[in-house]
Symmetry: C2
Subunit: 438 residues, 2 copies
């Protein structure tokens, strides 16, 4: 049969992993899932495709340009671009069937037709947890959510990372006291402090039309130094009377108080008055997380408190707090930074059972079954090739042990256990082989 | 703020589960995953969107009509409609980086714009395992794949199910000996035996232009009765000299021989000479699996041996054998049949820690942390409401235990453990609470 061969390839911006990386990726994904589940978050799995009218209810902005939108028959549909909009739709739709505070986690793929560039993906995993209140939600949950960032990265094997915490009410109250209207632009400028320095920020703020006095106050505000407690004290001593500012300080103090109770070590969080996050969404606690030794990776987990999750779908007031990990990008960055081990296995198999010839197949199958019953992942190599090639299969996949089965072994009810790293081989009973492998 | 409310809803044919069902669904999905992994299958996670040119390389047929195809910019892309085409593309693309026999599993969503009807879904999970050889692949792997069907359904808690096994070479050889060209039509007619009876089949075969003699032979062929061994003997005694028929019998005999070695009980498989499966794809072993007490559900797992996985993407010959479980449909059908427990939990949480007032929060957090460290999923209820409402949260979610923390408990270093089913409550040490819950 001769036919045209189509070159096998994937679309740009769509990450696909080979076995070794996929196994690592799944391990990370499982760790995140287990951490979320351990804290009583409930899984959700919404469709990847939604009605465009629903997904774009909020409308406008960059999002709409990036969305994968298409029609089939008469239906206008879109691929989800985050997990928050589907959550809002879900909670509004199933409101009466959910129990509040509703704790949900969602790990799934989302789609954004961004300009394709290194480290940017058009299909990527997000790993979200949120706690949604019915009408109101205690600020203690904000602290719990921050503690879940800590537990997650701790469980992923990180020690040196910092959760930068702020509260939008403090920013809003402070800017309000200066009668600043273009908060968005001012915050964007403040964000550049590390990049363009104090002089640059001053110049830009002046360009934005801010008075010398306001610029000065902003600079001294964002330069407030010291420990979390000292910063809180400094904020209090600003003595701003606006209600929102005072509310922000009170919330932040509570969050800081509780984050300790949740067991987050002091080295893993700071108060950072420049953190603002998505400006039209978050209303209270906000946070970003950085790996101390790899600031270039940027925030690896961020989120915060919002007043109203589902205002486009329901009149019910649903405040919540949540975080998101962009797993695909994180994985890519960790790999680029050399933080993922190079000697990860290429398979989950721990033992390859190798029959010396066809007469040994049946016994080999029994051995593999017994290994599996003991919880050891194992497989039998059935291809009729030379022994060297059989062992080569184990070597190429980094399988740590092989069990060789010949007539001798069958007769004596033993197995030849070979450690593929050291090359050492010994005749042992199946029970002892299981003990060694375990 | 007053805005237009968009009615929150999902697209028809897209299943979305509430917490109780989602937890059950994930449990089933995890069981399938664990079974696949236990046998040394390697995970894969390909993009949901592929180039249309790649996905539709084979072209034609029902598939093309059902596909979700769209353009973004200049790119013609489509959502995958199964996991086999992406596997073929993946193996062809990464051929030199894979080790053969390549054992992969893939659990993921696929998309088909089918006519929307009860029990049919446009987005659904498939759970596939395949073993791909480079050039050749031992027929013993066919038996292994069948044994994985057995292990999977066994692990899912089923006892009474039957794997119906056949070999396409036997069918092809038999039809060849009768010089039948329109094999597809004949097989479709044979498939109706149970529905339209022997007379109906005879009439249809005659309509298809088959001679009386051929029709007779076909009927006695598909009516071959007896145990697996008796059927094999009957096939051999047909004494058909065509090579392909003899090859089919030999393969089937080997598969049956090994399926026993793999530990599949005789009650869980039969030889069914009417099973044919997708006609242009499978070339050797074919199988379908039925739940004995729920034949109306149809096949819950099917698959078989194919000669050439990736002929549209490479000139490499890649024979393989695999199976697929349509999980979304299976879940739906099991639920419809009342086979899923109604009293499944609505959360994964085993213990709700309830502080009596705000002064007890810190101690409550410590208790929850300790519970989690012992592997017990737990959460703290922080909303400032009456105790009855706090306990109601646990009741509504079917959380089996609550731990009540008041000043008394804190002072005496104990907890009040409440069994939410019996309502009994006792003061115990944290260690004893952990023991009881476990």
């Amino acid at each position: 049969m001769s036919k045209d061969i189509v070159k096998p390839s994937t679309l740009p911006g769509f990450l696909e992993l080979l076995p070794q990386d996929q196994i690592l990726f799944n391990k990370i994904k499982d760790t995140i899932r287990n951490t979320y589940e351990k804290h009583g978050f409930i899984p959700i799995d919404t469709p990847l495709i939604e009605k465009s009218e629903v997904l774009l209810a909020k409308g406008g902005g960059e999002t709409e340009k990036q969305i994968y939108r298409f029609t089939k028959g008469d239906t206008d549909m879109s691929l989800r671009f985050d997990l928050t909009v589907p959550l809002a739709r879900f909670v509004a739709q199933h409101f009466s069937e959910l129990t509040f505070p509703y704790r949900r986690y969602h790990i799934g793929k989302v789609y954004r037709g961004e300009r394709s560039q290194r480290g940017r993906f058009r299909e990527f995993y997000q790993c979200d947890v949120d706690i949604i209140g019915n009408g109101k939600l205690s600020v203690i949950y904000d602290a719990e959510i921050l503690s879940i960032i800590y537990s997650t990265f701790k469980n992923l094997g990180f020690e040196d990372f910092t959760i930068r915490i702020n509260n939008r009410k403090i920013l809003n109250g402070f800017f309000g006291s200066l009668h600043i209207k273009n908060t968005v632009d001012v915050l964007r400028t403040i964000d550049k402090l590390e990049k363009i320095g104090e002089k640059g920020v001053t110049a830009e703020l002046t360009d934005l039309g801010l008075s010398k006095d306001a610029t000065c106050k902003i600079l001294s505000f964002i330069k407030i130094q010291g420990s979390v407690e000292e910063k809180l004290e400094a904020l209090k001593s600003l003595d701003l009377k606006t209600e929102i500012f005072q509310e922000g300080i009170k919330e932040l103090a509570t969050v800081i108080d509780y984050i300790k109770s949740f067991g987050v070590p002091e080295k893993n969080y700071i108060l950072d008055l420049t953190i603002a996050r998505g400006l039209d969404y978050y209303t209270g606690t906000v946070c970003e997380t950085f790996l101390d030794d790899y600031p270039e990776i940027g925030s690896v987990c961020s989120g915060g408190r919002y007043e109203n999750l589902a205002e486009y779908y329901t009149t019910q007031k649903l405040p919540g707090v949540g975080i998101s990990i962009g797993l695909t990008r994180l994985f890519y960055q960790l790999k680029e930074a050399g933080l993922l081990r190079n000697h990860a296995p290429c398979t989950l198999t721990k033992v390859l059972v190798v029959p010396m010839d066809d007469n040994c197949n049946e016994y080999s199958i029994k051995v593999a079954n017994a290994l599996r019953e003991s919880g050891i992942i194992s497989e039998v190599y059935f291809e009729d090739v030379k022994i060297g090639k059989k062992l080569n299969y184990a070597n190429k996949l980094n399988i740590p042990y092989t069990v060789l089965i010949g007539e001798e072994e069958i007769k004596s009810h033993v197995v030849s256990l070979k450690d593929m790293k050291t090359g050492s081989q010994e005749l042992v009973t199946l029970d002892n082989a299981i003990k060694t492998v375990k």
